[in-house]
């Protein structure tokens, strides 16, 4: 553990990722209690003002404060992505470790199921789901979360199978521990670092996908601010107010960049064997 912390200090990638991610989470949480202006407040007289002329980052076509919208958007984007990944990671991990415990026909079924789910891109499953229940946060969470199930199921299955071949597991079987107990005491703790790394990386992917869904109008319903919908709305004013298209995209890119760096950094730190 101490060695891990020491290694972290020497990893610029990890540190930059950590700083960006913490900053982002900080802004998102802050937006719950404070934004420069109420994000939904319209002010038509001051519409389409460039940055610094009105508010820090200017206003959109309804005169809403862009900085406030971006802050509130951070919370919406992060919370939706987090719930989606939590859903995918918990179902996927459960499927993975149970399959590793049982093997046999279950392994075949789970792997085939993964192939099938993986074949439908989240953007299409979100469209199908949206046709059902309309767009919205729930649709986005389910569509993204379901797509992440195979990612975590495959990862935990192969990692758990490796743990099952270890001597200490054989010993635990020898002294008569139940499979469930071995999974809880040995398998899960030993694959947890891989799961944490994957959660970080998939969070970045979830933010990207959520932005895409919101851009198509399948994500969070208005008036709740979202980065993707800000981009969709900015499309009408590309000539007049290009900054409206610039800022939300930068926010998305920065968030994904931070999470990816953090994930790669974590992988280096937690898995010293794989240092390239």
């Amino acid at each position: 553990m101490r060695a891990s912390i020491k290694r972290a200090g020497r990893r610029p990638l990890f540190l930059i990722g950590l700083v960006i991610t913490l900053l982002l989470v900080g802004v998102a949480v802050l937006s719950l209690v404070w934004t420069p202006f109420p994000p939904a407040k319209m002010n038509i007289i001051h519409k389409l003002k460039p940055p610094l002329s009105f508010g820090l980052l200017g206003t959109d076509h309804f005169g809403r404060d862009v900085a406030s919208l971006l802050m509130a958007g951070a919370w919406n984007s992060l919370s939706t992505s987090f719930l989606a990944v939590a859903l995918g990671a918990s179902i996927g991990t459960l499927a993975g470790v149970v399959t590793a415990m049982r093997r046999g026909w279950l392994e075949l079924v789970v792997m085939r199921g993964c192939d099938i789910i993986f074949a439908v891109p989240p953007i299409l499953s979100a469209m199908m789901l949206a046709a059902f229940i309309g767009g919205g946060r729930f649709t986005a969470i389910i569509a993204i979360g379901v797509f992440m199930v195979p990612v975590f199921a495959r990862l935990t299955l192969s990692a758990a199978l490796q743990v099952w071949t270890r001597d200490y597991v054989t010993a635990a079987i020898g002294i008569g521990q139940s499979k469930l107990r071995i999974t809880w005491n040995h398998v899960l703790p030993n694959i947890s670092s891989q799961i944490i790394v994957q959660v970080t990386i998939q969070l970045g992917l979830a933010i990207l996908t959520e932005a895409g869904l919101s851009f198509l109008g399948l994500g969070l319903a208005p008036p709740a601010p979202s980065w993707g919908r800000m981009l969709a709305e900015a499309q009408t004013f590309l000539g007049q107010a290009p900054w409206l298209a610039l800022l939300p995209g930068l926010a998305i890119a920065l968030a994904v960049l931070g999470l990816n760096m953090l994930g790669d950094g974590l992988r280096d730190i937690l898995d010293p064997r794989d240092q390239g």
Binding site: P121, F132, L208, L216
Partner: protein
């Protein structure tokens, strides 16, 4: 090898069948009766029942699924409710936009990523390597549709060099068509290029450390020659593999980019079908995309088996 091939092919067919059943059932559960949508609100119950009957909507789900499947197998994907034309023709028409778009994006991303990855590996740990690393980090993080918006701002609204969207059709000439697809293809290619650069770099580094390359270098082969003779051909295998695995994301990107640039492609067709509740079109397009992804993964699997004999021994 033959028995593995047969087994894989059977499993491919089963997967395709299950996916098609899933898609059909989900779409069937949709609220909203297509016949009622076609006729509008003023239709009498009798005409509605007659249309439902002629569309086959009054038959039970398993029968409709089998009928649909039989049609799909014969290339008959049904009739679009809103366009009133066969869906197969509609998909074929839209493919003339989506396919060149995807191909251009793939070619562009490989053309950027392979040289970049090879150079980064040769100057391993140097400043060029760091720059290439930064490029892949940034390009993976940016959403393709946002890149599309930025390209429109730069090359259409500011410079006025390229169209901001729309597609003139291939009848307007090859150049006009390619011009309309250039910006969308660049937007679509960028995230792919980031992923592929990483893969190419890692693959070249791996190969350069192999014994046979060291032997070749020891026997006097120049580094330049070793890179081109050994490293690059070997690096192409993982690059192609990654292209196959990234296919899902290419499709998702295409759906978004087509909407940004207003291109009449398959992704836009699916999106329009959603807003018009054109169930059959949605069903067919989603099935088409999913089948593409499944077949792609199948081909990648086969390529692996063909390349690496060790996998053949353990394959099930």
């Amino acid at each position: 090898m033959i028995s593995i091939l047969i087994r894989r092919t059977l499993s491919l067919i089963v997967t395709l069948l299950i996916v098609s059943l899933l898609i059909f059932t989900v779409m069937d559960l949709l609220p909203g009766d297509p016949a009622a949508i076609m006729l509008g609100t003023s239709a009498s119950p009798d005409t509605l029942a007659a249309l439902q009957h002629s569309l086959g909507l009054d038959r039970p789900l398993p029968i409709r699924y089998l009928a649909w499947l039989a049609g799909v197998a014969q290339g008959d994907l049904g009739q679009s409710y809103t366009y009133g034309v066969p869906v197969a023709g509609l998909i074929a028409e839209r493919l003339t936009v989506t396919l060149p778009l995807a191909l251009m994006a793939v070619v562009l991303s490989v053309a950027v990523a392979v040289p970049l990855g090879v150079q980064a590996a040769r100057r391993h740990n140097g400043p060029f390597d760091a720059l290439a690393g930064l490029f892949s980090y940034v390009s993976i993080a940016v959403p393709a549709f946002w890149v599309g918006l930025l390209l429109i701002i730069a090359f259409s609204t500011m410079l006025g060099w390229l169209p901001a969207g729309g597609f003139p059709g291939w009848d307007a000439g090859l150049w006009q068509g390619l011009k309309a697809l250039l910006l969308p293809a660049v937007a679509l290619a960028l995230p792919q290029a980031g992923v592929l650069t990483r893969v190419a770099r890692a693959a070249v580094l791996d190969v350069m450390n192999e014994d046979f390359v060291r032997t070749a270098l020891a026997k006097g082969l120049s580094e330049e020659a070793a890179v081109w003779r050994h490293a690059v051909p070997n690096a192409l295998i993982p690059v192609v593999t990654m292209l196959g695995l990234q296919f899902t994301f290419l499709i998702a990107g295409a759906v978004l980019v087509e909407n940004v640039f207003n291109l009449p492609g398959l992704g836009r067709l699916a999106f329009q079908a959603l807003s018009q509740r054109d169930v059959i079109v949605m069903q067919d397009v989603v099935l088409f995309f999913s089948a593409l992804v499944i077949v792609m993964n199948f081909l990648v699997d086969l390529a692996y088996l063909a390349i690496d004999p060790r996998l053949r021994a353990g394959a099930r």
